[in-house]
Symmetry: C2
Subunit: 226 residues, 2 copies
């Protein structure tokens, strides 16, 4: 790896790495990931991010037990429904999906074995705006716009340093319990749980629908040829 | 600019570019930004992103009028309160803040002059999970985790191509009106509005609190020396 890996090379080969080796991740590398995170923008430069780096075995296990329950419920409810309702998939798409589900189940079973669980937290800003009759209450999107760009920077920095990572949110189904366990104050939200470690698999291209089918010009529904 | 700019160089010099030149941004470059966006992860690889590229003058003006009203309300309510309540700032921090407010006011006044307004939209996924007594309803964070990483990829790709951009969400205060104007269906959320154009200013380092003060290890409140 060169000292300065290319942006697009990193971005285009950034897969979720759900199979990780148990080898430790040094503190110095964790600091580098967080240094990258905080370069992201935030509304009014409020920098609402807070980070909890979890390496303690019991704590990881506590989180894994809940993550695993969340995953089971998720699989039962959504993946089957999605598979049944979805437009027919090609053989390649179907194989990619099966592979992803297998890897995600592996992650749910082995989450506590990841050398680092990075819990990304947020101190949300209170908004108390003067009224305007045409207006509506602020969407939660305005809050999360100030934290998930930092999360993406972490994933890109992991990839650049050769570390595997996956953006997960299933812990949110048990957020209250997990916050109590970790001593996290009420006013802090936990928004993402990122297992990080040296990847067992390889980085490479991802499966995505072409953007031409998802983009409109000037008005919803107006497509344009590329 | 080289063909493959370095990830960390891009990430660390990515400022919000709120002063833009009126020179047009070619379609081909817009496609490249969106190609980068969709490399981001999304829950279950559902790829909920949809994009609306706005160049029509009347539509841009319609959005700018509402954005400007949102900005006025935001300044009234929040920035003054923040300045009064905040811990004392150094002269440099105070100057940086004043500069940002000046640039943000410029953006609110000139939003419609940006060659492209990119409205990032999302088709949210319905979650209907089997019950679990320890569990709680899914946080909205789980939804936005599947869209703002793509937004950060857009910002990074803009920077890599020499384009200026700013992640904004003030349009959300008038989302209903704007959706009606643009013909956006009810079930689609608009999550970010990114004015894009050739920057009048220069890219460079950003002002951030050091990560050491924002990071805990294993338990909330437990700091570690770097």
């Amino acid at each position: 790896m060169t000292a300065e890996p290319g942006l697009f090379e990193i971005m285009y080969s950034l897969r979720s790495m759900r199979r990780l080796k148990p080898d430790p991740v040094p503190d110095e590398l964790v600091w580098k990931l967080l240094d990258a995170a905080i370069r992201a923008p935030s509304g009014g430069n409020t920098q609402p991010w807070r980070f909890l780096v979890i390496r303690d075995a019991d704590t990881k296990r506590f989180i894994q037990e809940r993550y695993r329950r969340g995953w089971d419920r998720y699989v039962q409810a959504n993946l089957k429904a999605a598979a049944e309702a979805a437009v027919p998939m090609t053989e390649a798409e179907s194989a990619a999906r099966a592979k992803m589900i297998g890897a995600a189940t592996h992650l749910a079973d082995h989450l506590h074995e990841a050398p680092v669980l990075l819990l990304v937290c947020m101190q949300p800003r209170k908004m108390d705006l003067p009224p305007d009759p045409e207006s509506q209450p602020p969407s939660p999107a305005a809050l999360y716009a100030s934290i998930f760009p930092a999360v993406q920077n972490i994933l890109l920095a992991c990839r650049a340093h050769g570390l595997g990572a996956t953006l997960t949110t299933l812990h949110l189904l048990y957020e209250r319990t997990i916050k109590t366990k970790l001593g996290i104050p009420d006013e802090i939200d936990t928004v993402a749980l990122i297992p990080i470690g040296w990847p067992a698999g390889k980085f490479g291209p991802t499966t995505r629908a072409p953007v031409e089918t998802l983009t409109y010009w000037d008005r919803w529904g107006a497509i344009r040829r590329r």
